[in-house]
């Protein structure tokens, strides 16, 4: 029996896969292309600063040529932007270059931990939603900020599990639970998921999708790691949809002793 999970719907678009992949840090564009295929993903994010937006088909910045737009929704991201103005400018440029009017809004002025700036992210989200973008903001796991972003019309919220590339897993688990509980849009756990078990955990607590990059890109076998994440995401989602039992302090027998009373 295979796992058939409910599809993911973001801004009216349906995805069978709940795994979103990033495209940075790979050892070669071919390695990235193969890992994307192995992962079964249908949405991949690309840093606009790495791509050629001039329309000149720059052979020294040709990452987009390795991502088939028929197979994947290409989700441009604004990584590198330090404030709302820069992020908005990049997003507009991407549309002008013919990329989808979707944007993963990333504004992290701190280059060490790449933690998102909530104030600038909120400002940029307001502007971009008004301009008709489908906005997926990368945020710290702040439930109030998540609500505010939903209120201004963001298509998802993307709280971090732990800092980008840290492989530390769901350090923000309790806050993400609150975000999921209160969400009116899909919740995508983004960043810090270093192992398939982290991704499965996020899906089990009800995240609608996860975004993974570093763990796959720097694995010694990115393709197998991509498949491992695919399976973990499917398993976690199936467990969530099947109704996970709540943890208890004591043992509870699988054949209750009082069954004869029924």
């Amino acid at each position: 029996m295979s796992l058939i999970n409910q599809p993911l719907v973001i801004a009216g678009r349906t995805f069978q896969s709940r795994l979103i992949l990033g495209t940075g840090k790979f050892s070669a564009p071919e390695a990235m292309r193969d890992a994307l295929a192995a992962s079964g993903t249908e949405m991949v994010t690309v840093a606009l600063r790495r791509a050629d937006l001039s329309g000149k088909k720059d052979p020294f910045a040709n990452i987009l040529e390795f991502i088939d737009p028929k197979k994947y929704l290409l989700l441009p991201n604004t990584s590198g932007a330090m404030n709302a103005e820069e992020a908005v400018r990049l997003a507009r440029l991407a549309v002008a270059a013919g990329l989808p009017k979707w944007v993963k809004l990333e504004i992290h002025p701190d280059p060490r931990y790449l933690l998102p700036d909530p104030i600038e992210t909120f400002r940029a989200a307001e502007i971009l939603v008004k301009e008709g973008f489908t906005v997926l903001p990368y945020i710290n796991a702040d439930p109030v900020l998540a609500k505010r972003l939903q209120d201004v019309g963001c298509a998802t919220v993307m709280p971090l599990g732990s800092p980008i590339g840290s492989n530390r897993g769901l350090q923000t688990r309790d806050q993400i639970r609150i975000i999921i509980e209160q969400a009116t849009v899909p919740v995508v756990v983004d960043a810090g998921l270093g192992a398939p078990s982290h991704a499965a955990e996020a899906m089990e607590i009800g995240a609608d999708a996860v975004l993974v990059n570093t763990a796959v890109a720097v694995a010694s076998d990115p393709n197998r790691m991509a498949v491992a994440f695919k399976l973990a995401v499917e398993a976690g989602r199936a467990a969530f949809e099947s109704g996970l039992g709540a943890p208890q302090e004591t043992a509870s027998a699988t054949s209750p002793l009082t069954a004869f009373l029924e």
Partner: protein, 399 residues
């Protein structure tokens, strides 16, 4: 409060002594730590830790791949001018050196730029000697503005300026500023900088902070190894990096590790750092600063560079020239010779840079050691299992 006060308060001699006296057990303990103080850093660069180079290298490599990925970024230096009003005993551009000098016009700079762009470079470092007449702020602004039309990421390595003087350069599109302290040892610094504004160590030391205040988002620092004791310098660089990470929190920081190379003036290095110690230093910087970019230039020979790339290096130059006009021969027509700072008739000079047999180019700052082309180096990077990244910045971010 600037880094000057912090540097003055550091027990540097004690830290160097701690480093030299460390035993293997203590070094091993330091290498295994999760986060590092300056005292730990002293242990990481100790002779004892030199015996732990393999485990340090493995940790350094894993950390670098995790934080930066399996990629190495490339940049090229573009020398605008080798005019200089400073006398620095170790530098080929020193005012009193009788070398062939030139300042490229903006058009000539663009010829050089297009040659670099054709090789793949999308990240260019503009370098110039310090000369307010030839290398004026207006000239630099014009160069940056012209370059930024074709090159997304433009950095500067020029004479230090006031914050207000930097602002127009940032507005014109420059995103990075590189300033090497050369040496953090005050006595050595005084001895080596015999004339010119560079004599003022503190003014230079505060340059990264002024650059950050003006809006530069990439800051590069480093010492020039070969002037003072390398462990002393490395400790100062580590302290400086730590200070900048705390105080200039929005800037991407890079540390470069240049070793002194032969140059006009024939200055002999005063101190020595071996290849093995250089590798140890790269690993030590990586362990202490997982997110700081580490830069390696063509000052080092190919074999050493190839070995260092996967150990923690994130940004490299390739196919470099250190003379203005080196990529295309631009500016050849108006090269002149100077003797003790005065222009004399250009003639045959022992300091001319040979290019394809024509010894007519301006004099380079130093001789490079890795003469491979950018394409060759890019191929080598691929063969090591890394992607050579040319573009990681978009003009929309700085315009």
């Amino acid at each position: 409060m600037s880094f000057v006060a912090e540097l003055n308060s550091l027990p540097l001699s004690a830290l160097v002594k701690r480093s030299l006296d460390t035993n293997l057990a203590a070094a091993r303990e330091s290498v295994a730590k999760e986060s590092f103080s300056l005292a730990d850093f002293a242990q990481l660069i100790s002779p004892a830790a030199g015996k732990l180079l393999e485990p340090m290298g493995r940790r350094s490599q894993a950390l670098t791949q995790q934080r930066f990925g399996k990629v190495i970024r490339l940049f090229a230096p573009l020398y605008l001018s080798n005019e200089c009003i400073n006398n620095c005993k170790y530098c080929g551009f020193s005012r009193d050196n009788p070398i062939l000098r030139v300042t490229l016009t903006v058009d000539e700079v663009m010829r050089e730029t297009r040659a670099l762009a054709a090789q793949g470079f999308r990240n260019v470092l503009l370098v110039a000697g310090e000369h307010p007449k030839f290398v004026s702020n207006g000239y630099l602004r014009d160069c940056v503005a012209a370059l930024h039309e074709e090159i997304p990421s433009v950095s500067l390595e020029v004479g230090p300026m006031e914050t207000e003087e930097y602002r127009p350069l940032v507005a014109a599109g420059a995103d990075g500023l590189v300033v090497y302290q050369e040496t953090y040892d005050r006595a050595v610094y005084d001895d080596l900088h015999t004339a010119g504004p560079k004599k003022n160590l503190d003014w230079r030391l505060e340059t990264p902070e002024r650059a950050y205040a003006a809006g530069f988002r990439r800051i590069g620092i480093g010492a020039l190894y070969g002037l003072a004791d390398w462990r002393y310098e490395a400790l100062c660089v580590a302290a400086h990096a730590d200070y900048l990470l705390r105080n200039c929190w929005k800037a991407s920081l890079t540390i470069s590790l240049p070793r002194l190379r032969p140059c006009a003036g024939e200055f002999e290095p005063l101190t020595h750092i071996s290849d093995r110690e250089l590798v140890q230093l790269v690993c030590a910087f990586r362990l202490m600063f997982p997110d700081v970019g580490l830069v390696l230039s063509t000052r080092e020979p190919a074999k050493l560079r190839d070995g260092l790339f996967p150990l923690g290096i994130t940004l490299i130059s390739a196919g470099s020239h250190t003379e203005p006009g080196g990529y295309t021969g631009a500016g050849k027509e108006h090269i002149h010779q100077t003797v003790r700072g005065r222009i004399v008739e250009a003639g045959a000079s022992e300091w001319a840079t040979p290019t394809n047999g024509h010894a007519t180019n301006a004099t380079g700052q130093f001789n490079i050691a890795d003469g491979r082309s950018a394409e060759e180096v890019a191929k080598l990077i691929q063969s090591l299992g890394y992607e050579p990244v040319w573009k990681d910045w978009d003009v929309a971010l700085t315009k």
